[in-house]
Point group: C2
Chain length 248, copies 2
Amino acid sequence: MNMFKFRVQKPMPPEIAQKTSKAQKTREIILKAALEQFGKKGYGRATMRDIAREAGVSVGNAYYYFQSKEEMILEVFVRSQRDAEIRNQETCRRTRSFKARFLDLQFHRLDLLSEQRELFVVLTQAGIHPDHPLSPFSAEMASLRNDATALIGDAVEGSDLKVSSSLRPYLPRLLWLFNLAIILFWSLDGSAEQKNTRRLLELSLSLMIPLFGLTLLPLAGMFNRMVIELHDLLSSMIREKPTPTHSP
Amino acid sequence: MNMFKFRVQKPMPPEIAQKTSKAQKTREIILKAALEQFGKKGYGRATMRDIAREAGVSVGNAYYYFQSKEEMILEVFVRSQRDAEIRNQETCRRTRSFKARFLDLQFHRLDLLSEQRELFVVLTQAGIHPDHPLSPFSAEMASLRNDATALIGDAVEGSDLKVSSSLRPYLPRLLWLFNLAIILFWSLDGSAEQKNTRRLLELSLSLMIPLFGLTLLPLAGMFNRMVIELHDLLSSMIREKPTPTHSP
DNA sequence: GTCTATAACACGATAGAC
DNA sequence: GTCTATCGTGTTATAGAC
């Protein structure tokens, strides 16, 4: 909630409480209770008190394991990334069509997100603030972000996609950014089962792929350079390193 | 903050307290105090108690005039729209270049936003939830949205922009959506004085305008139809009418 | 009917004892 | 690692003043 009250004291504990197996278990119990409450009442209505009570722990204890209510969502997100990787390998083996590969990747992700739709709408919200730890652009999310980009790179590589070689290195990140935009649309999409998002994906790919083909034309050099600059500009949203604030 | 607690009781009072001039004045005082506090401490740190104290009124009174803390931001936004309209008329008289017209419109808006940058970052946040009253897609914002779209329409009309006539009617809204995307980027833009946003605007226009030219080619029919469908899909985010919830 | 104030509520988050 | 007690916040209920 309070977007501008950052938790700088706790320096984002890298692997909190991986120590004892008891801790692991407690964390798991709390997370499970949280997801249950989220599913039942929705993210907004499920209070930390509810979650703690249902998990059989105190509120303070829940905050020992999770820095904030939002962080509980992240957990689910991280886990879904593993799924996607396996899935993508299979798909790449099955087809060389770039469109098919990318669509499958995206559709599968949307399916996963849909199971806990309201949760991810909240996560999208956090994404708007690039220094927020849960933003896809934050330094804390670097690893997750790079994994996802690499996954797209796998889908591009060895596919039938026709595109200028000068542009090729920039494609994974451009497509990752595109994928973020799609998720943003999805979180706003009011159509039944987010059918519109799926259509949008298909449609924009159908529009983009021929345009990629144009980049092979001999006169496209200037155009391509502009696309690369576009890539650089968009990438500037990414916060690679933890911004070194004045040390206390 | 609590994105999912909607205020359905108070049915969005159309013109609260426009009656007496005293009310007008009190509202103005509160708004001024609010902006002052926002500027000094930032939106997140400025509390309603601060604002009320500084304005010399009670918290309850502030809530009499503003439905929520966020609504105070909206006020500034609405006012900036008036500015833009005048500005646009002048620019349209000065040049026929579509690029110049649109850039001027956008740059001017960015200048205005920059004065209260943090405020609008918060507003952008609200925008992510399309049923939120402050979202640019909400039913409540219909009038503001239509004004802004019409403004862009004025910039297109009589300009030197080359584009298929089948697409032309859809341009204002497409460009309005584009403008939203730009504002989104702006709210994330960490570069000094948001220089990157300005460059992005120029660059993407330079990329788009030749593409618009392509829509005039005889074989572009299919392509154009797809763009129109794209327009329709994107427009589905707009909530035209207040969703009729079960009356109590 | 129009405006204002006080007090309280609910929730996210934290401090500090054990 | 866990709990209790408490804080700070947005927001609301409600009573009363003009």
